[in-house]
Symmetry: C2
Subunit: 197 residues, 2 copies
């Protein structure tokens, strides 16, 4: 932390990703900008371009980290839910709401259309692993079913979690003064209702 004449990060690359999360949590992908991230770190608007070729490469790195962390959070929530496969799948919806409510980096960022044609093997791997985790949870819940049915169940769980999260982020629930934990609990309940039994 010794102050020199010029600002010196130990690892600006990592700091940019971290600050990007904070900006996304506050403003959403809508108002995300490389310039604002740089401003928050006290570096010039040119500095990020030493570490990322362009805006999309930075967002791709954020997507990679978010997919990894979200998957970890989902697996932890599933394990905390116990052995019942339905409860484990439903718990993933709650983990999604809490993680995205805290970080702002959900499906809209992780699978952003803007990143569709950005080549990034690390991101591809993490997003695939995240989907695999959801498919595993869906496959275990409700007993044996066909693969297409498992996909539909996983997508339904994501849809309900994403729906609640998105409405929450947009202030739709503001009047109720709901907390992220309230919304997470409602998402878990709804996700549980979607599981065939």
């Amino acid at each position: 932390m010794s102050p020199g004449r010029s600002y010196h990060h130990g690892d600006l690359r990592a700091a940019l990703i971290e600050a990007s999360f904070e900006l996304l949590a506050e403003c959403g992908l809508r108002r995300f900008s490389v310039a604002e991230v740089a401003r928050r770190l006290g570096v010039s608007s040119a500095a990020p371009y030493r570490h990322f070729a362009d805006r999309r490469q930075l967002l791709s790195a954020v997507s990679t980290a978010a997919a990894r962390d979200l998957r970890t959070a989902i697996e932890a929530a599933a394990d905390a839910a116990g052995d019942d496969p339905a409860a484990r799948l439903a718990a993933s919806a709650g983990a999604y709401v809490r993680y995205v409510g805290r970080t702002g980096a959900g499906i809209q960022v992780i699978y952003a259309a803007e990143l569709y044609d950005v080549a990034d093997d690390a991101r591809r791997e993490q997003t695939r692993a995240l989907m695999t985790t959801m498919l595993d949870l869906a496959g275990a819940a409700g007993g044996a079913r066909t693969y297409p049915e498992v996909v539909l169940l996983a997508e339904a769980t994501i849809a309900v979690a994403h729906g609640y999260t998105s409405l929450f982020a947009d202030g739709f629930f503001a009047r109720n003064s709901s907390t992220v934990d309230d919304i997470a609990a409602r998402a878990v309940e709804a996700a549980g209702a979607l599981i065939p039994h």
Copy 2:
């Protein structure tokens, strides 16, 4: 339609709202701009400001029209679903997916945070009527319940419809080459599963 020296709309105000819907459907609220709407109508970027004080007033008018039309679509879908109250509520989710898939003007536009402090009595009235319609459908479905429970059920229905719509708009389902009607059907099924019975 007689071509004069300068572009002359019979009703530029209405044309601006209509073109705004098309732009929202194509690009979402993210890339909506007054300038682009004007460009598509072949008028100057200054022309819209004769009819709307600023960007938010235009969006507020779009929100008003969307709330009215969405409510109409939901009521039509409920009526088409027959007399079963649960089927009527579930059908509203399908109407939401189809309307928003077609117009791009869903909850994110109708209840946009950007419009929170824009005074517009027409919008307030239409958004209230839309919510009332959803609460009526939720109140009728599943028999007598407390008001807070009715609100939770209405919000759950909106969340699942919005979740599917948002994922669809962001291309999350692209690999399946799903159509909006496929997604609407899945939203109806999911919404039906959320209703207590």
